[in-house]
Structure formats: structure tokens, C-alpha cells
């Protein structure tokens, strides 16, 4: 156990040196690192949100809202297919959206198969999920002999839609966030219907939340002037119209034609500028070609009538069309603040979210608390480390010094590994390191106690050391593997802070075994070879 081949010594020294080198950049500022020669590593540790401050937002797609929206579209498609399909009108009753699908009853049972034929295309085969040649439909269609027809979401259809929605939403969110440009958050899918947004350095996530949370479905509607908004609220709005409230405070009701003239999809650009007369911020937008053509046509036909610009079911402005607008661009003026106008422009440019998103978990840490945590973590590590180092020297003398050197190498290796792997260091992660400092000496304690025993049993110095190391090996492995199992499971099942802890704990186990079994053994061997003591100072 005490003989080391030259290449082994070289390897051990190399590993420890690499640990020290990769750890070093963490003690310097970014500016200082700039001036370092290129061959030196410059990577620094990634600090978790709890240490550098930042926001963690977990969004979930509002599944029920999305399904309801889809069912409503399906309902009107069914109406179209049965009333206006080729082969004449098929009468039905009780068409409506239920909790679990869209349902209707065909009056004339003899035409049931004809109806089924017409409705069949509405199941909407999904091209993107063809499993082994078998196409998956978005909806399941069930028809009973007594004329009852029911559409429900198919399990796979919903999964497929959700996958797409998450994908699209991530892209939209990324575009929106890039537009504000203040932070560089990471945006990831989590599970089947969730999106995790992590924004380091963002201490006040309110703006971020506002900008992500808006669905931002923009549409243009003609205002119905047959009755006022208040009247429509009190009575029933006429068929084909809806009442929408304005964003003003207090909100004001508008009666709008339900079918939009144009939708936000036709927008190509939106920019903030200032109105020349009132000097208030406004949002200028531009349509694509087909949108511009439609817009020109509409404005030509409706000069003098008001139309409404609706964002997420709220009227943001309802100007009167003064003249035909043929250039394909327009202006939204509301009572915006500059910030509000900016956000609207960003939302319009980035496009609408395919479904509503809800925040289900939010954690944000201010930079002050993060800095405090780093400070107290540093202080605790240093004090804990010094206490352990002193104690080891008191308990094992010269061997304690060796254990302390191994401990320092160990800490360098942990920091080096964390830096190299770019693993995130969190506050529980620091706790993991401090715990490792305590436990790292365990391996050395096991060895030294074993050596003491062997000495007591009457062995010579060299043979006691040799036996101490070789007999402690199995114990150390067993003990550390059990802890490693706990760390791995913690990592697999844990989230956020728990994971950070698991990572440092696991890395600590590897470096501990390495430093006890190679580095401190090497130091002991070197010391024995030089001094050749007859009695061990242990």
C-alpha cells in the first residue's frame, strides 16, 4: 500500500494541481481574469438563484381553458358542417360544450350515417404524431344508434397538443424576454405541460411576469352601434355580438361584433412612438401584405364608424375610422405610460401565446439576501474548516497535518469539479460542502484509528501504516457508497435547492475517497520514506 509508481505519483499531483487551478478563478473578479494568460482556466462557479438573486417562475398551461376554447371552436365547426354541408341541412338539437366534450343529437336518425360522414373530418388527424403508420386524432368521435353524437379529446391528441403548445409558448416567451433585454433567463420545458423560467439577477420579477403572463391575443372588431355597451350589459347582446370591457379605470363596456375583422397574426411589426400633438406614447403597427389589403378594404367601407382594438378580451382603444388606411400601418393610442406602450409593442411583436399560462410556483431572491447568504456561507465554511483543521492536529499530530492537507486538496477538488461541471452552487450546496468538510476527515480518521490499533497490536511502523490503509479501504468504500446512494436519489427526486445540495454531496464523496486514498496515502508514504521512524507519532 505504500509503494507508488512514478506515473501514479505524477497522476495524483496532476489531479490535485488541476483542482487548485480550476478553483483559483473563483477568487478573482471577472476583470482580473481578463488579464490572465489564455492557457489558464477562467471559468467561475455558477451561483444559484438563492446566492446571486433572481427569479424562478414555474408556469403551467391552463389545460381546462385551452380545452374549453378548442371545444368552442369545434362546436361552431359542427354547426357549419351540419347546416351548410354538401347535401343539405341536417337538423340537430342540444348542441353544446359539456365538461367532457361536445355533444349533440341528430333529429332524423335515418340521416345519422350521413351526419357521421360529414363530422368525421372534424376529429382532426394530427400529422405530427403518426405512430407506426397509425394516425392519431385530436378528438374521439362516438355515435350511438339513437342519434347521440359526442366528441371528446383523445388522450394522445391532448398530449400531442400540449407538447406543441409548450414548444410554441417557449418560443414566444423567449422572443418576448429577448425584447426586454434586461436579463437572460433560461426557459425550459418541465414535464408535459410546464415551463420553467429562471432569471438570474432579476430581483423584481413583476415586469417579467407581466410580459410572460399576457396571452396577447390581439384582434380588431367593428363596434356595434345598434345599442350602447351599458344597454347590452343589462339586456342581452344581439346575436353575433359580444360585450367587452375597456382597460380604463373604471372599465367601460363596448358592444362588438363577435367575429374579428383581423387578428394579431397579420402583424409584422410594432413600435413605440410619440403622438405629435399630445406627445403621449403610442404604438405604431404594420400589417403583412394580406393583412394590409384586408385592413384597407375594411377602413374604406367603414369610414366614420368606430372599431375596437382588443387585447386578451379587453378593449385597449376604440378609435373612429377617419379615412381609409391603405398603407397597411396603424396606430394604437390609449392612455399609455411609456412603459406600458413598450410592453404592448413587445407583446405584439413577439406574438400570442397559444394558451393561457398560470404561475404555479414563484421564488424570487433579492440581490441583498443573496450577497448576505454568500458572506455568511463563506464565514461559516472558513470557521468550520479551521475548527476541523485544528482539531485534527490536536488529535493526530503529524498525521493530522497530513489529513488537513488532504482536506484542503479535497476542498479544492470539490470547488474545481463544481467549476468544471458548471454545476450550480446553492445555499444548501454550501451546507453540503461544510458537511463534507466534516465528513471528509472521516476517511482519514478511519485509517488513523486503524493504524493506532495495529500499533497497539505490536506491529512495526511501516507494517502498521500499511495494514491501516488496506484494512480501512473496504470500510471507507462501504460507508461512502451508502451515502452516495442517498445523494443520487436526492438528485433524482429532488428539485431546486435539494438538488444543489445533492450535487455537492456526491462530488464531495468522490473527492473524499480520492484524497484519502491517494493523496494522503502518498503524503504518509513520502514522510515514512524520508524519516524511517521506528515509532509512529499517532
Amino acid at each position: 500500500m505504500l509503494y507508488f509508481a512514478r506515473w501514479k505519483i505524477a497522476l495524483i499531483v496532476l489531479v490535485v494541481a488541476a483542482g487548485i487551478l480550476t478553483t483559483l478563478p473563483n477568487f478573482f473578479s471577472k476583470e482580473q481574469l481578463e488579464s490572465w494568460p489564455d492557457f489558464l482556466p477562467k471559468k467561475q462557479m455558477v451561483l444559484g438563484l438563492d446566492l446571486q438573486g433572481g427569479a424562478y417562475l414555474l408556469y403551467e398551461i391552463d389545460k381546462e381553458d385551452y380545452i374549453k376554447g378548442r371545444y368552442e371552436i369545434l362546436e361552431s365547426d359542427i354547426r357549419d358542417a351540419l347546416l351548410r354541408g354538401e347535401g343539405g341541412r341536417i337538423n340537430y338539437t342540444g348542441l353544446g360544450v359539456r365538461a367532457d366534450g361536445v355533444q349533440l343529437r341528430i333529429r332524423d336518425v335515418t340521416r345519422l350515417s350521413e351526419a357521421e360522414e360529414r363530422l368525421q373530418p372534424l376529429v382532426n388527424p394530427l400529422a405530427s404524431s403518426v405512430f407506426g403508420g397509425q394516425a392519431v386524432n385530436e378528438f374521439d368521435l362516438a355515435v350511438t344508434d339513437d342519434g347521440l353524437v359526442r366528441f371528446t379529446y383523445s388522450e394522445q391528441g391532448l398530449q400531442d397538443r400540449l407538447t406543441n403548445i409548450v414548444q410554441q409558448s417557449i418560443e414566444v416567451i423567449r422572443r418576448r424576454v429577448d425584447e426586454i433585454g434586461t436579463t437572460e433567463p433560461s426557459i425550459q420545458r418541465q414535464g408535459s405541460d410546464r415551463i420553467l423560467v429562471e432569471a438570474p439577477g432579476e430581483s423584481d420579477p413583476e415586469q417579467l411576469k407581466r410580459i410572460i403572463g399576457e396571452t396577447a391575443i390581439l384582434s380588431f372588431h367593428m363596434v356595434d352601434t345598434s345599442m350602447s355597451g351599458e344597454q347590452a350589459l343589462q339586456s342581452r347582446p344581439p346575436a353575433g355580438t359580444v360585450v367587452r370591457m375597456s382597460v380604463d379605470d373604471p372599465p367601460f363596456p363596448y358592444l362588438l361584433e363577435a367575429a374579428p375583422l383581423l387578428k394579431g397574426d397579420d402583424l409584422v411589426d410594432a413600435q413605440v412612438s410619440f403622438d405629435q400633438r399630445s406627445n403621449e406614447p403610442v404604438v405604431n403597427f404594420r400589417f403583412n401584405q394580406s393583412g394590409a389589403r384586408k385592413f384597407a378594404q375594411i377602413t374604406q367601407q367603414n369610414v366614420g364608424r368606430p372599431f375596437a382594438i382588443v387585447l386578451d378580451n379587453e378593449v385597449i382603444s376604440a378609435p373612429v375610422i377617419r379615412e381609409p388606411i391603405t398603407g397597411g400601418s396603424g396606430q394604437i393610442s390609449g392612455s399609455f405610460s411609456v412603459e406600458g406602450a413598450n410592453e404592448l409593442a413587445v407583446l405584439l411583436r413577439a406574438g400570442a401565446l397559444p394558451a393561457k399560462l398560470t404561475v404555479i410556483e414563484e421564488r424570487s431572491i433579492g440581490p441583498g439576501l443573496g450577497a448576505d447568504s454568500i458572506e455568511s456561507g463563506k464565514l461559516a465554511s472558513i470557521i468550520g474548516g479551521v475548527a476541523v483543521v485544528v482539531f485534527m492536529v490536536l488529535a493526530y499530530g503529524r498525521f493530522g497535518v497530513i489529513a488537513d492537507l488532504a482536506l484542503m486538496a479535497n476542498i479544492c477538488l470539490i470547488f474545481g469539479a463544481l467549476t468544471l461541471l458548471q454545476a450550480t452552487l446553492t445555499l444548501p450546496g454550501i451546507a453540503g460542502i461544510v458537511l463534507t468538510i466534516g465528513m471528509a476527515v472521516d476517511a482519514n480518521v478511519l485509517i488513523f484509528e486503524r493504524i493506532r490499533e495495529e500499533v497497539r497490536a505490536g506491529r512495526s511502523a511501516i507494517s502498521a501504516v500499511d495494514a491501516g490503509f488496506s484494512r480501512a479501504l473496504g470500510t471507507i468504500l462501504d460507508a461512502n457508497i451508502t451515502t452516495l446512494i442517498a445523494a443520487v436519489i436526492l438528485f433524482q427526486l429532488g428539485s431546486g435547492p435539494v438538488r444543489g445540495f445533492a450535487v455537492t454531496l456526491a462530488i464531495g464523496i468522490f473527492t473524499t475517497v480520492f484524497s484519502a486514498f491517494t493523496f494522503s496515502r502518498l503524503l504518509v508514504a513520502m514522510w515514512l520514506r524520508r524519516r524511517r521512524p521506528s515509532k509512529l507519532p499517532i
Partner: protein, 314 residues
């Protein structure tokens, strides 16, 4: 002269002491379980849902004023307490009825109270009902899964009696630690799960070291009665057990005192767990083996080939 926590060649009769340690542990476990089921843990927002806001005020905070401002908001159960200093305030709000979006409005409402004051929002955490349920489940699974995985590992490396003994010892530590959470009504959060899992890791580490020595001694002294071998093994490893506990505790106490308010309950649980883990690996782990009729003959010779220590045990 070097420091010795434990004198050389101790001959403490631990097997005899089990007449004290077993009833004591059973009592503690029953008390902990009773506390858990009758009083219950003080679950944090990670598992219960709700909102935590930590603020730093300019100068000492007016807690009573903040309390009355908050109670005007009708947010249900609201706790306001100092957090590490008189200018550092922690506000906890229980989960609001009305699903995920209802939780979000809490933060906005509370922000309006402090709008015209110079207040730094140091931390805001909101956990909705769906996530909290999942986190609780994931936490429970993590604890169970790691116990099971370790059970199999020890079974593979030792005899089944060791595996059962190790699991019982560890389960004791977990239950008693949970008892501590109940008694002190410490906030039981995600990091508490991490603390419990660390205790599992540490306690097993300790237990395995003792078992390792027992296995070695059982092979060495095939003729000696089991209790004697167990006593010998514990005495031989006693010095190491104490040393490691002390160094780990030194590091943890430093963390408890200087590591800041945020991880204090985490480290407190861990300190307690290390103490309990050390106790159980000395007083419970080995006596359990007697209960399950472990005999020297059980250590069949071909077991020797299983581990790298085979060469070492003559």
C-alpha cells in the same frame, strides 16, 4: 500528547446497556410518532402552499403596525415575525382558496402596503396548491426510495440481518428527527427533506463502519459468543465514531452560528440528526443483530470473496 476523545482499549458492555437503550429508543420513537400524528409537523409553504415574503425595513420594523395592515387585507392566517434582526421581517401567508391565480394576488396586495415605505423585498416565494402536493409526494418518495436502495446495498454486501438492522437504526433516526421538528415546531420544508436524507446518509455511514468491524471480528473469533464479539467491535470503533461525530459537528455548528438565518433550521436538524445517528450506531445497530439471531456460522467462507477487505481478514 495527542488528544484522545476515547481512551484506548475501552471495554464498555454495550450489549448489557441495550436493556436501557432499547426501551429508551422505543419510548422516543413512540413519542415522536404520537407527536407526528397528534400534533403534526409545522409544514412550510413547500408542502402546504402559500406565500413567504421577507423584507428589510429602514430601521427597526413596526411589527404590530405591519400585522394590523396585513389583517386588513383578509388573507386568512398571516404570521409576521422577526427573521435574524429587528429590521428583517418574515411574513407568511397561508394558501388562499381559489386555485393557482389566487396565490399570485397575495404578493401584489402586500406590495401595496409597503409601496410608500423604503422597504427592500429580499425574498418572495409563492407555492401553489398543485406544486405543494407534488413536492410533498416527491419528498416522501425520496426518503423511502433511498432507504430501500441502501437496504439492498447492505443486503448485497453483508447478511440480511445487517440490512434489517441498518434500516431499523436509520428509521429510528428519521423518526426521532421528525419528532424534533414536531417538538420545536420547526418549519418543515424542502430543505428539511434534504436534512433528513443527509441524516440517513450519515447514520448509515456510521452503522456500516460498525457492521464492517463486526463482520471482520465474527470471522476472526468464530468461537466467541455473539454479544462478546459485538461489544468488542463497538469498543474498537468507538474512538472513530466519536472523532467523526465531533469533526462533523464542529463544521455544522459553525454553519448554524454563522451560516445565516435561511439555513438555520436545516443545520439544526442536521446537528440533532448527527447526535442521534451516533447514538443509534453505538447503542442500537449492533444489539439489533442479536435480535435477529446472527451467528458466526452465518458468515460463510465464500462471503470473503465479496469485498476487497477479503485479503486483509486473515
Amino acid at each position: 500528547m495527542l488528544l484522545r476523545l476515547v481512551p484506548d482499549n475501552t471495554k464498555i458492555k454495550f450489549m448489557w446497556l441495550r436493556k436501557v437503550s432499547f426501551p429508551l429508543s422505543i419510548l422516543l420513537v413512540i413519542a415522536s410518532l404520537a407527536g407526528f400524528f397528534l400534533i403534526g409537523l409545522n409544514y412550510g409553504i413547500d408542502f402546504k402552499g402559500g406565500t413567504i415574503i421577507e423584507i428589510k425595513t429602514d430601521g427597526p420594523a413596526d411589527i404590530a403596525g405591519i400585522r394590523s395592515d396585513l389583517s386588513d387585507l383578509n388573507l386568512g392566517d398571516v404570521q409576521v415575525q422577526e427573521f435574524g434582526g429587528s429590521d428583517d421581517i418574515l411574513i407568511r401567508v397561508e394558501e388562499q382558496p381559489g386555485g393557482e391565480t389566487a396565490q399570485q394576488s397575495v404578493v401584489n396586495k402586500i406590495r401595496t402596503i409597503f409601496e410608500d415605505q423604503n422597504v427592500e423585498f429580499r425574498r418572495v416565494e409563492v407555492v401553489g396548491p398543485r406544486v405543494s402536493g407534488e413536492l410533498a409526494q416527491a419528498g416522501a418518495i425520496a426518503v423511502a426510495a433511498s432507504l430501500l436502495a441502501i437496504l439492498f446495498y447492505i443486503w448485497f454486501r453483508f447478511e440480511w440481518q445487517f440490512a434489517i438492522g441498518a434500516i431499523l437504526t436509520t428509521a429510528n433516526d428519521v423518526v426521532v428527527t421528525i419528532g424534533l421538528f414536531v417538538v420545536l415546531q420547526l418549519d418543515f420544508s424542502l430543505s428539511s427533506i434534504a436534512a433528513v436524507l443527509t441524516i440517513i446518509g450519515y447514520s448509515l455511514n456510521d452503522t456500516v463502519v460498525v457492521y464492517d468491524r463486526i463482520r471482520e471480528n465474527l470471522r476472526k473469533y468464530k468461537k466467541r459468543p455473539l454479544p462478546e464479539v459485538l461489544d468488542l467491535s463497538i469498543n474498537e470503533t468507538l474512538s472513530r465514531t466519536m472523532m467523526t461525530s465531533v469533526t462533523t459537528l464542529l463544521a455544522l455548528i459553525a454553519l448554524y452560528v454563522f451560516g445565516g438565518e435561511v439555513i438555520q433550521s436545516f443545520t439544526l436538524a442536521m446537528i440533532f440528526g448527527i447526535v442521534i445517528g451516533t447514538y443509534s450506531s453505538i447503542f442500537l445497530a449492533a444489539p439489533f443483530l442479536i435480535l435477529f439471531n446472527l451467528r458466526a456460522e452465518a458468515m460463510s467462507p465464500n462471503d470473503d470473496e465479496k469485498g476487497p477487505e477479503a485479503k486483509a481478514s486473515v
